[in-house]
């Protein structure tokens, strides 16, 4: 027989081993899933995980997907470090896409050098505003942040859908729910000759490095960590909890908004109803898989981007439904939380009391 026993202190080994263990378990589970679907599990895993890294084009596509995931995840990691349970990256991303598009469409016939920066700024501010609503409700009325941010996700989505059917619809677009194509001056520059890796991907990496620096080197980052680890200690020390709440939420909103506007002004080039395949939700998994550490988020974002890519490829090559990607993400988070249990607990053989 075995029994579960609390560890005297959290295991450092398990803290780092847990994400890898969760990935292995997810792959095993995936193999069973593919077998049940009458697909060759080895081939499926190959398409899902190896093929996205097989050539330069695929890698660049993978990085394009990594960008928004990482931007959102860095902001979320900071929020979670401060015990602000922001589930609203998706809504903030959509708000950023919507606000950025509104600015971009003002420059539709312009070659102004300001077009791109102002579009980005529009996206960032829209994301911040969206995060600000939930933060205000939390700080002022102590409303549940998880609920308000989730609800705001839906409001943002329907606001965006309304906009592409209404005010932002391309008048010459034959009634399709899409905006006009943005002018070249508005679009983010592409960083490589081949592929679509754009400036937004670089922003993502820089944001992760900045957040790392913030947490480890600055007084503000230290206060965020104290606030998340031990709120009574933060109050005792006299830290301004409202300011910290506002900071992490607006920071996360800005990054998510940047992710959104980078999509519409990057690979998509216009506002469509399908800006995000759920990047803002997947970023929650990225943040946790990366142990709420900005550097860990980079690695985790690459992994989830591979899964996104692999899902597309598996659909094309093997006829595996795209829903499998969502399934994989869900199972991954499930196993991750299960494995995290062993950071604080361990299983030992049950022994009778020694006489």
């Amino acid at each position: 027989m075995i029994q579960v026993q609390a560890r005297t202190e959290p295991s450092t080994l398990m803290t780092f081993a847990s994400p890898f263990l969760a990935i292995v378990l997810t792959l095993i589970f995936g193999s069973l899933l593919f077998t049940a679907l009458d697909k060759d599990p080895l081939q499926a895993l190959h398409v899902l995980l190896i093929l996205p890294l097989s050539d330069a084009y695929n890698i660049s596509e993978m990085l394009v997907k990594m960008g928004p995931l990482l931007l959102c995840a860095v902001g979320l990691a900071l929020c979670y470090r401060a015990n602000m349970w922001n589930i609203g990256a998706e809504g903030q991303l959509l708000a950023g896409a919507l606000g950025g598009s509104a600015v971009a469409l003002m420059f539709i016939d312009s070659n102004s050098a300001l077009a791109m920066p102002l579009t980005l700024l529009g996206g960032i501010l829209s994301g911040m505003a969206w995060a600000g609503i939930a933060t205000f409700l939390k700080v002022k009325f102590n409303s549940n942040l998880i609920l308000t941010t989730i609800m705001l996700n839906y409001i943002a989505l329907y606001l965006l859908i309304w906009a592409v059917h209404g005010p932002l619809r391309d008048p010459e677009g034959f009634g399709f729910p899409e905006s006009a194509l943005f002018s070249d001056a508005t679009l983010l520059p592409v960083l490589s000759d081949s592929g679509r890796v754009h400036l937004g991907v670089a922003f993502a990496i820089v944001s992760a490095l900045f957040a790392w620096f913030l947490l480890s080197k600055t007084h503000l980052g230290f206060k965020i960590r104290v606030y998340g680890a031990d709120e009574p200690a933060a109050i005792y020390a006299g830290y301004n909890s409202k300011a910290i709440s506002w900071f992490v939420m607006l920071f996360a909103g800005a990054l998510a908004g940047l992710a959104g506007v980078s999509e519409v002004a990057g690979p998509i080039g216009q506002l469509t109803p399908n800006v995000s395949p759920g990047y803002g939700y997947s970023a929650i998994i990225v943040a946790y898989l990366g142990r709420l550490h900005p550097a860990g988020a980079i690695v985790a974002a690459i992994f989830l981007a591979i899964l996104y890519m692999g899902g597309d490829l598996a659909q094309i090559e093997m006829g595996i439904p795209i829903a499998v990607v969502g399934m994989f993400q869900g199972i991954l988070l499930f196993f991750l939380l299960a494995c995290d249990f062993f950071i604080r607990y361990r299983i030992v053989p049950y022994r009778e009391k020694m006489a």
Partner: protein, 519 residues
Amino acid sequence: MSETLKNQSSRPRLELLNITKQYPGCLANDQICMKLMPGEIHALLGENGAGKSTLVKTIYGVVAPDAGQILWDGHEVEVKSPSKARDLGIGMVFQHFSLFETLTVAQNIELCLSRSQLHSIGDLAERIRDLSRTYGLNVDPDRFVHSLSIGERQRVEIMRCLVQSVKLLILDEPTSVLTPQEVAGLFTVLKKLSSEGCSILFISHKLHEVTEICHNATILRGGKFVGDCEPANETPATIAKMMVGDLAEQDAGYEKAFGETIVFTANNLSLTAKHPFGTALKQINFELYKGEILGIAGVAGNGQEELMSIISGEDNRHLKNMLTLDGRDIGTQSAGLRRRNGLAYVPEERLGRGAVPEMSLSENTLLTHSRGFVKSGLVNWKALKEYAKSLISQYSVKCHGEFSEAKSLSGGNLQKFIMGREIGQNPKVLICAHPTWGVDVGAALAIHQALLQLRDQGAAILLISEDIDELFLLADRMAAVCDGHLSPVVRAEETSIDQIGQWMAGTFINESEQQEALA
């Protein structure tokens, strides 16, 4: 009862043989033997970390020993759980009570009785009233627990054991939360129980109490049995020596000091309670002078927590013209600003409030001490580490180094560290709550001396403690709180334990109300 009396002379009620318990990295109990006769009041003494709690938890079935035997009335037993212990007739009153505030006394007691016990008792409320009369416990079964004082709650816990016809009652530091008068009442109850054959195992830090009522004492040090004695034949000093070894100095009397310059005032400070079970503050007035220690006595829950958090600014409600520091109104300043203006604070809970458990000691230094270590928003971790190291050596904090997590330190060592951190900011006013609660004798001495040194450097110290001996040792002026009222403030030499004890029970409230009525 007749059965117990019959056994009284023949064999021990409880006998422990070579009890050993190993925790990771710490041998908490090393082959401990102990005997407890029926009707005996037995003291279990030792510093913090000596293994007292582990031993009583073993007896009560909370902790399973790695080796050793427990004999109950001469038969070997295995106490697998507290309910097994209760079935045997062992009752325990923990230091922190386990009562539901929103239930009545009778409901609380009912909760821990088995169905068969309830059946055999019949009318529980009547039984409680019976026992209450017999032992003078004065416990009303219909009252809600949140309306009871700490002393009354303790009596409910004792009642809970009595209802189950207890044969061995274990009390973990029972007097630490009581007024001197309540302590006397408790001792009367214990003596009566003992005379009826109930054995009592009594854990205490207060040696004069042990010499007063205990028949025998077992002394532990570092998990080992170091000796036993008959307290009646010893003095507190000789027992203390056995507890700490010969090395530790004893607190001697200290000279009292008097300040002349006011640094801090509370003027007609009144405040409603923030929580339903909190205490409202009522018309509190006092001044703090430079270079003095003002001691505030009181039983826990009489407004101390509220008073400290409104002074420190943790309670962020704004007050007008009620609190001044250096002549300026600080009632609307945030806790952080008050700190920057020279207010420091050692809170009651060290881990989880005074220090972040998972953070290193250098990080915990930065928690409240950022002056000089933060430049344009960036933390100078290198300088901070050096400073944390110097705090560790200056206050002899036992730890692996400045990288040790706060939670890896013992309570006393963490307290020395927090004390050093707050004193290191050269505060004008230090609020200090229960500075040596649960701290061993050696560390308490170091903490006392650090406080006196800070006073002599000209700081004003507001010392809030439940330990009345400590207050008389350190405080230059004294007062007591009761139900959110503050008694008159008097010089420590001009008062007595008896007067402070009466103030703790609230006698001054009626006097002042009468005076108001006359005026």
